[in-house]
Symmetry: C2
Subunit: 169 residues, 2 copies
């Protein structure tokens, strides 16, 4: 059985070394907090204004300012800064926290489309950092698609079991 990592690499086209090249330099020290706040604000402005209703609706139950804070605090923590996210919300637990959302391949590509646009429009981020971040985001997006499929597997097993009970009684 393919691991989460293998699926993420195959589906994203980004191998783990490229995905985690974000750890070669401390991007938080290089870019600073405000750059991450700006990036997440730019990204979520695009998401909440998306003309594609199916994608926009995924975020309908979340306040934009919360989505922005959750995202930049995670990025800061993961890219060498203080553990802002964990101090406030605990472990990132990326797959579990995405359980409520349908993280399909199509949704991953749409997320990446907006993030690529946000990165391209950012004047605070050098091109090497942009490449590293985009590889990390692309691999992570498809890691979450793989995580989403796990969820479906588990549910169907649980429901088979539940369905078999009444028949046995």
């Amino acid at each position: 059985m393919q691991s989460l990592q293998e699926k993420a690499s195959e589906w994203s086209g980004v191998n783990p070394n490229d995905a985690f090249a974000i750890d070669e330099t401390n991007l938080y020290q290089k870019l600073g907090l405000q750059t991450f706040i700006n990036l997440s604000t730019n990204f979520y402005n695009r998401v909440y204004d998306d003309e594609e209703e199916w994608f926009r609706s995924i975020f309908a139950n979340s306040k934009k300012e919360d989505a922005i804070q959750n995202q930049y605090e995670f990025f800061v923590q993961r890219m060498g800064g203080p553990p802002l996210y964990s101090q406030r919300r605990g472990h990132p637990a990326l797959i579990a926290r995405h359980r409520p959302f349908p993280v399909t391949r199509q949704a991953a590509e749409r997320w990446l489309h907006h993030m690529q646009q946000a990165l391209e429009s950012s004047t605070d981020i050098d091109s090497d950092s942009k490449t590293k971040m985009l590889n990390f985001f692309r691999h992570t997006a498809f890691f979450l698609v793989a995580g989403d499929e796990l969820k479906n597997q588990k549910q169907s097993i649980a429901c088979k079991h539940a369905a078999s009970k009444p028949a046995a009684v």
Copy 2:
């Protein structure tokens, strides 16, 4: 509704500031790779020899050497060292990766019992680092108990939905 972090804090008795005090110093630089390998080896020797069969059986389908490597690579990565875990396996995704296991409060306490013994028997770790690590482990163990309950909630909703379908047909 209580968040994962709030549940972890309440159930473990460890507040987030104490849990994430591991980030105040770079424990990997302070302790070194071999200390983490020794700790995880010591811990899993205890787990795989546990006289409590219900706890030992949770690990029955995992090879001890894999369990040791997964654990110390995660600890190294989380405590300031190179991202060994993510390069090999992807994001920690702690809750999702514990889905196959029954992470009850009782299991969390048993895990912590063995980890406390392993830490106490370690001569490579100073007492301040031991305190920080134990607070982190205790908070994390109950964070996973909270994550385990999420899994059950989701299943019951999914199964209710599945069960209602045949009735409607």
